[in-house]
Symmetry: D2
Subunit: 466 residues, 4 copies
């Protein structure tokens, strides 16, 4: 977590003012419960609220730090300062509790708060993805497997795919939030020996947490491991979208581009150079978020009723992973929201190889119309090669120009050169009735490839659009 990759709201969750505020709430709600149980005077509980329910200002925090330097114990420093505010009644604060009761429950609140921000981030991103998906629903572009042109799809389908992925991430995050939002006020080894379980129940209720069914001195760390693992999965999805944009913005592809404000410069020396640096940055941030996963898992196997090895890890990965992911999701939402897409460039790619992407479809059509698989394959292959040649490309050596002829020149006037050559293939004509052949050659390739786009949109968004 460094300022460059941080947003203030998430940073604030991890700042002393918020932490001490949560500590206060835990202690004060516990006082209420203890008073209700008759363990401490009701007046004391009231006074804790009356005098202690104040923000933690810089001067209060400085005072706590000062006490901690003496006592070397953070919770004692906190309660001592609170006693300075509250007076005599403060001696009833923290009765029967263990430091971990406060620290772990506080961490639960902080992680839940962090999760809430991340949930909001995901919702913003999802809204951007949905808007862009419908906007580009019918924008034809080339699909690629292995980085090689395959068959067309639409830009909207790409966005829809990411939307579905981030919907899953939203569901995972909500589940992960529920996992960590538990309250443990159960004493030194989790037995409630010195504090009634009803205190835990009351504090949990007030803070919007569930009581931890069985804790040791601490809340079990498998919960946190699952939480950070979920952040790692989300970060990996961020990376996937970032990598997609980086590919689309390549000089040789230029189907999309991160938004450049008017006057914003790319490289200082090359004014024309517009780099997808936000997406590259997101790729790196994904690695950082993911790096929290294994330490969080290594934290699970604490010794006996607890050792404190998890603490230093969480002091770092707690803020680091949540702040970085929050920043990344917000940045990603912005990139998606303002991404400039180039439909003409996309169409250029779709048509770059004369409809050769219809090869599979032709193959299928032929076999479904009685042509043997072997013949069909030979026919398609031969005509695909003709298409290459018409572009002056020798597929066996793309670096050597193939000679072109008049037929090639004529083919070049057709968008779908594959269909052009198929229409002139005598062997095909022998094998297929004229009507069937025309059926094939007359079809609109784009319509064919996009005919189920609305079905998919319906699945993803619950609506297909107009």
């Amino acid at each position: 977590m460094i300022p460059r990759y941080s947003r203030p709201e998430m940073v604030a969750i991890w700042e002393p003012a918020n932490k001490f505020r949560i500590w206060f709430l835990i202690e004060a709600h516990a006082c209420d419960a203890l008073a209700e149980l008759g363990v401490i005077p009701a007046a004391a509980a009231r006074e804790v609220w009356a005098k202690g329910d104040q923000p933690y200002t810089d001067s209060r925090i400085a005072r706590i730090d000062e006490i901690e330097r003496e006592t070397r114990h953070d919770v004692i420093a906190f309660t001592t300062e609170l006693a300075e505010q509250v007076g005599e009644s403060a001696r009833f604060v923290h009765q029967g509790m263990t430091s971990s009761d406060v620290l772990d429950t506080c961490l639960a609140v902080q992680l839940a708060q962090a999760a809430d921000l991340l949930i909001a981030d995901l919702e913003t991103l999802l809204a951007a993805l949905e808007r862009r998906a419908f906007e580009t629903r019918d924008m034809l572009c080339m699909g690629r497997s292995h980085g090689i042109h395959a068959e067309p799809l639409t830009m909207g389908l790409k966005f829809a795919g990411f939307h579905a992925e981030f919907q899953r991430n939203l569901a995972r995050l909500k589940a992960a939030r529920a996992e960590v939002a538990t309250c443990a006020i159960s004493g030194a080894v989790g037995t409630f020996a010195n504090i009634d379980p009803r205190v835990e129940a009351h504090v949990a209720d007030k803070l919007g947490l569930s009581p931890e069914p069985v804790s040791t001195q601490v809340i079990p760390r498998d919960r946190h491991a699952q939480f950070f693992a979920t952040l790692g999965v989300i970060a990996s999805s961020v990376e996937r979208l970032a990598v997609e944009i980086r590919h689309l913005q390549r000089t040789e592809v230029r189907e999309a581009q991160e938004y450049f404000a008017p006057g914003q410069k790319g490289s200082s020396a090359m004014p024309h150079k517009r780099n997808p640096i936000l997406s590259e940055n997101l790729t790196g941030l994904a690695r950082v978020v993911r790096s929290a996963v294994i330490p969080a898992m290594e934290n699970v196997a604490l010794w006996h009723e607890r050792d404190i090895s998890h603490s230093s890890v969480e002091r770092m990965i707690g803020p680091d992973a949540t702040v970085t992911l929050d920043f990344a999701l917000a940045r990603l939402a912005g990139v998606v929201d303002r991404l400039v897409v180039y439909p003409q460039a996309m169409l250029g790619q779709v048509n770059a190889f004369g409809g050769i992407h219809d090869a599979q479809r032709v193959l299928l059509f032929l076999t479904q119309n009685g042509v043997s698989r072997e013949d069909a394959y030979k026919i398609v292959q031969r005509n695909a090669m003709r298409v290459w040649k018409s572009f002056g490309i020798d597929p066996d050596n793309p670096d050597r120009a193939a000679e072109t002829d008049a037929e090639d020149a004529e083919a070049a006037t057709h968008d779908n050169r594959l269909f052009f050559f198929l229409g002139r293939d005598p062997e095909l004509a022998e094998r297929l009735e004229v009507a069937r052949l025309n059926d094939l050659l007359d079809t609109d390739s784009a319509a064919h490839h996009t005919r189920h786009v609305k079905t998919i949109f319906q699945r993803v968004f619950g609506r297909a659009g107009d």
Copy 2:
């Protein structure tokens, strides 16, 4: 995955016979749907089932391998061999489908099968933990934080804590299973351009999968990342339980011991040496399972509509992580089931320091009975030191024997030496009414520390036992 750490049922999921069987089912169900849609003849679909619905014997697998060596394409090798079984109708198999449709849907089925075994493993483990928890519900033992004696709890609470943790793991695994159990039959770039979405729906239904709402050429890998991350969390819980047992079996602790069959030897040279090697082994296996997590996350960011980099990773971590975790869970269930526990040794540890673990409780009692916090602390500390001294221990230098006297000798006749010395503390007597003091000194320490054990059992198991 190596034989030493494998169980046959899980290994079988990843063997060719199962894989090809699943491929057949995908293709055959797809034929049914295609026939229903009128794309292929109904008779062809029936013949595929009639002649192809056979187990994949070694000789059939050898034949497929032989064809693959020629064609270098696994799915073509498979369909070719199938054609040898089915005859002419085989040409309708795989119509409009892409290899990934078969491969990815098959992986979904295999992961779901693997998850089912792991779910059964967890249930076996949970049963063992529950049985041992109730059996040892009231077995007093010392709780430790930082490896240092803290306050007592019961052995049953330890088991209950692990039970709750593995219940969470069971819920996580079921969720992860649902994540990966999806079916994609959507073609080269996920558009259904050459195959009707109803084929996918039919196959999904027959195989117990959900249709993938939007796929590219492949099922999105965030699903698999979440799956393997969940295995990593479960493995970390395995490690925690294994580490607990290793600690309990230490020579200096000996509160529990992995079961040794009569006649089974420990070290060859030291007949008395009984090592917790199963638990140590589980600690290592946990690291191995966890090592699948990051590669699975790195697999998410495939290029465009797919690249095949994920494939080699999954060919290894798919079997490795599931087989290893299956073995580990089964081994762990056995260790828990047969774990020998030593209640006398536990009591010995509980009483090892004369009830000094009641210090916090006394402190609390005093402050709740009007003694100032400072006085209470001084009184408790002084008497705790007296206890140490009665053991001949100088807490400032545990290595130097403290001199003991007659009072120490008398203290040594009491289990709870802390209470013995408190009863003789004049300053305490000044500050507390006799009745209140006797209230304190008369309490049963064990009963105090275990009074909420049933509450916790009720939370974890839904029943507290007798």
Copy 3:
């Protein structure tokens, strides 16, 4: 480790025959040393060699397995079988040794053997990289930062860069090999209490190992952690080269292509489709090798004089990481060796934007010839925009065709349109003497960008070529 990604020589290292053979050598050499020290009879040592120095055939291995099933102890099973070969003298075998002495020293030999194969792999790869580097030393291609065209370099420089990287990897691997090639025969806790250190020295010498200066029961695992970390770094370099090739093979780039054997098919449905699947596969294999790094590091912190948690990890990552990396390096060497490069396509990319990549150089030239930085920047930017326009591209909206005019048509006849427009820029003419301007415009752009290529080759290879 699965057959698909394995090569027999590396697999053999991890097979029982090799393992038992190494065990025999350790035991037999130890007998020699013990005999020399007078601890056992010299005749016994001689007999161990005379009768035991035999290959471990399948039947011998089966016999050992049979014994292990009874005794549940691998080293005892081994020595028992050896006794069946050697007779009476066998009782002097393993005198004063601990199982770990044999197991750990054997692992050291296996890792050293594995390292030797990997070193040979690296040398093969380096030879291929060097050959291809010199072959393509002067083959101009476009350099890209952020996936965006920057300035030209040569294909040979790319290969040279990878060569330098793999030279470093070779040095790292040799260092890592030295780290793990140690011998420990020091007894149950490393004290040599029951065996003379000279035995260790003798065995180490015979097996080409160094004596471990201080062991516990085992060789310290920081050595192995460093070894597997080094494999992880090498795998990451494999990934970088694989990713480079995948980019060069993209449909929109096509500057290089993995070799396709005549008749080899790409996609079954799209005969023209040639996918960089070997390189994608290498990308995935890199993730797998890297996954061994963290477990190997987690293995370091064994308890006291050893626990056995490392063992299961090493049984898996030992073979997995070395076999997979061996396979990957061999595959990569093949890909590099046969990579088809397309110099015309490269030149096409270099010239795709009319020499706009000389922008920085012009800027520099102008400032060095007295033009103010601000003016220089304005001049360069203006003319770069002119170049874009001459291509019909509006840089502020690459998707909108810009109108072109007669001057653009004339520019289009020049390779370096930037220089063409600069030569007509009146403001530039005002600021630069004619002679200086001609100096600039007359230069050969390619020569400029490649003028230090030989210097770099000299650095990397110690020779620049002709």
Copy 4:
């Protein structure tokens, strides 16, 4: 990196003042070289030094930040502010250079500086380990495998083992430092097209770096991966030592204890509780340092001549990993330096089971003196069981008290009960001459187990001590 786990000297390396200072040095040295080459006026280079060679005060840094907010480019902001200091000559600064030339070379300097601090940390730790090793060289303690008593060694041997491990770490770190200490001033794609290689050579020389043989736009990231991997190995060694101390400080072991200042409190409620929290903290910090390893490896495969995904990762792991490891090493050195060891407690453990740890040695002695292995084993086992029984322990059920008799009482008066019982074993007496038997029984067990300690010390430290 958070203040709690940071030391100022390492933090300073990563602060803007140091970064900008290094940038200045790179630029100013480059000016010297450019002047020498006649590319820029010598007077300009002199003026850059004369006016620019100043510390980066807070106000200068604030000014740079202000400019960066406008230009969104850090290196331009830096050179602009420098121009404000230097005046007209500043326009010759950064001639022909690329931002990465400055940024990457700066990172090299920072990592080298960080490595120097870490090297010093290791040397401090090594000194502490060496001092403690010699101090405790002969301090007998129990060795443990699997957490179970094995054979004795000395506390000094433990320290010696860690010393050897950290010596290796020191060598690794020096190698890793050399890996990253390279200088690249080679332009936009590493061709030196716009800057002479002699500039790089000069700057490298002045900054104590090596010229990078072949860079792209950046220094290749395999170097950094190796660097962070090395930090991960060192962190794992930190963990091993921390875990050892945690075990030794367990309540049931108490052979060593982290130093407690007089008056320092353990738990607030339990004054006697002294927790190894520093060592536990180190265990967690090791996880954090290790978490940098995989991201650093993922950074290697940058696209083409560079993408910027590595940058965000390094901005975080650069400071995080070095600051955390620096803190951890310093803390560990302090823990080792002041560790309180308890030789009496150690002896207590050594003698806890009546010399049963001599079992292996007796076994060996018997077989070497003509007793058959089977007989020897039976004899040793029987007498080991007698020892257990004399302690009232039934090894088959350690929880059930065994009955003791008069012979047991007599045995209890001997430190080595095993030898006591062996001396009374009639079967043994039959098999061994009296003289040989007495040889065995008369030996000093401690002397036997420690007889090679000096040999090991000689190996590790090059001296054995007195």
